[in-house]
């Protein structure tokens, strides 16, 4: 990449920082320049967030339809998978998986619910009724 070709497109980093980019001058010698962003990768990041939004919407529907416990909705909202939820809460992965079943979730103790509520930064009531 030539130094004058370093892209200066809008990105989520605008107003936060510019990023250091390596490029060559006319004689092929390396130098660095600052970039505000590149549309190609900004669009890639958009795709990642569209995927997340879709996963959240799917999770919401499953919870509303009684196919999953509210934990699924909060997990997707917080970009977490079973491994991450398990490591933050101290539960085993198989336990978290069980807690995703509405029937099991309904009977969880307050102490266990409190752990999830803390992780998802909501109250226990919100955890039980996420769309109220």
């Amino acid at each position: 990449m030539k130094k004058q070709d370093i892209p200066q497109d809008p990105s989520a980093l605008n107003n936060v920082t510019k990023e250091v980019t390596y490029a060559v001058d006319e004689s092929g010698n390396y130098t660095t320049g600052l970039s505000t962003g590149w549309s190609v990768k900004a669009e890639a990041l958009d795709v990642a967030w569209q995927d997340i939004e879709k996963r959240v919407a799917d999770a919401r529907k499953k919870v509303e339809d009684g196919e999953a416990s509210p934990l699924l909705f909060f997990m997707e909202t917080k970009l977490m998978d079973l491994t991450i939820v398990a490591s933050y809460t101290g539960f085993w992965k198989w336990q978290v998986k069980r807690h995703l079943k509405p029937g099991v979730f309904k009977n969880l103790s307050d102490r266990k619910l409190q752990k999830y509520a803390e992780l998802f930064e909501v109250s226990v009531n919100q955890l039980k009724q996420p769309f109220a």
């Binding site: 990449m1 370093i6 989520a12 980093l13 936060v16 920082t17 510019k18 990023e19 250091v20 980019t21 390596y22 490029a23 060559v24 092929g28 010698n29 390396y30 660095t32 600052l34 970039s35 590149w38 549309s39 190609v40 990768k41 669009e43 890639a44 990041l45 795709v47 990642a48 967030w49 995927d51 996963r55 970009l79 977490m80 491994t83 991450i84 490591s87 933050y88």
Partner: protein, 339 residues
């Protein structure tokens, strides 16, 4: 108290931490490309069975922690790295080090990193930054990918130091141990060992999913994505590839440009004409990676969607694999000339 520490902005966080700390302790010759090359930072791996954000794990660089460790060790600089079981002992160790007048690097997760833009806050636990001071409850942070200094409260810092999940940092801090001046002779040797290790990782690593064969494998895979995964999933996978390749931290072109810069800078230590020539091959490889990213964007934007478009994308990666194989093979032939 804030230490007298010169903030250096770099493309990649771990390179930046290495450069910032080594310069702080008097090694003025170190640059980002030298740290990256001596640490054998260039790599490629495609792990279909490990999913990151629901897409395959793809990396254009070596494992986190390797660059700092290898660069220091190759220059005979001791590395101190401490992990902590408790949050209290982690905070105490950091505070004691600052009180003694020394900066320390931390590995952190970015999901709770408050000064990062929301769009970048995924559960990625291998970000690196340097703590350079503490006023009351607030820590001063030199984050190498940022153009200015930032702050975190002790709670915010504790949260990112104890992020959980893959590559959990477990509160770790690291820094170089005491070292004297580093001679140009030491740097010359370190460059050779860095290049040798990188040749091994890219050309001779066993398996089909890493090194240059990993790039070729990914190219072949991409051609099957449309029929095997469908348009929607392929779109997510291609976006993941481009993000790992081009996002902040890579310097552009999947770190290939930084490696080209490393070979050019090595020429000052090893005046062998092949080095800048091979650097040109890495520039070409980086450019081709960026062309491939443009093709991928055509697909995930929905402008391109035929099987032929996927075939073009796959062939671009297969061509890049050939280019990088040529570059590393020439580098291998050049190593004996580096005295």
């Amino acid at each position: 108290m804030t230490l007298d520490f010169k903030h250096t902005q770099t493309a990649h966080c771990e390179n930046g931490v290495t450069v910032g700390l080594l310069r702080h302790y008097g090694m003025n010759q170190i640059t980002e490309p030298l740290a990256f090359g001596i640490g054998s930072g260039l790599f490629y791996i495609y792990l279909g069975i490990v999913k990151v954000n629901n897409a395959p794990l793809i990396s254009f660089r070596t494992m986190p922690g390797n660059i700092f460790k290898r660069t220091c060790q190759s220059l005979d600089i001791p590395v101190v790295r401490k992990k902590f079981a408790s949050r209290e002992s982690a905070a105490r160790a950091l505070d004691e080090r600052l009180a003694a007048g020394h900066p320390a690097a931390c590995q952190v997760g970015v999901y709770y990193l408050t000064y990062f833009p929301k769009e970048y806050r995924f559960h990625f636990n291998a970000h690196n930054l340097i703590i350079i001071g503490k006023e009351g409850d607030t820590y001063q942070i030199s984050d190498p990918v940022m153009d200015s200094l930032h702050t975190l409260t002790s709670y915010e810092l504790e949260r990112v130091r104890f992020a959980k999940g893959p590559l959990a940092p477990r509160g770790q801090i690291y820094y170089p141990g005491a070292f004297g001046s580093v001679s140009d002779e030491q740097i010359k040797k370190a460059i050779v060992s860095g290049i040798k290790r990188n040749i091994r990782d890219m050309l001779h690593i066993p398996g089909f999913f890493a090194g240059v064969s990993g790039i070729r494998y990914t190219g072949k895979k991409i051609k099957t994505w449309k029929s095997k995964l469908g348009d929607e999933k392929s779109r997510s996978y291609l976006a993941q590839l481009v993000r790992m390749q081009e996002e902040i931290g890579t310097g552009g072109g999947g770190f290939r440009f930084i490696y080209g810069a490393f070979l050019q800078q090595s020429h000052a230590y090893h005046p062998v004409d092949e080095l800048p020539e091979i650097a040109g091959l890495f520039t070409k490889a980086g450019d081709r990676w960026r062309d491939a990213a443009v093709q991928a964007a055509g697909i995930y934007k929905g402008r391109l969607s035929s099987q032929a478009d996927y075939d073009v994308m796959g062939d671009m990666l297969i061509e890049i694999a050939g280019l990088e194989k040529e570059a590393f093979t020439r580098l291998k032939k050049t190593v004996p000339l580096l005295k």
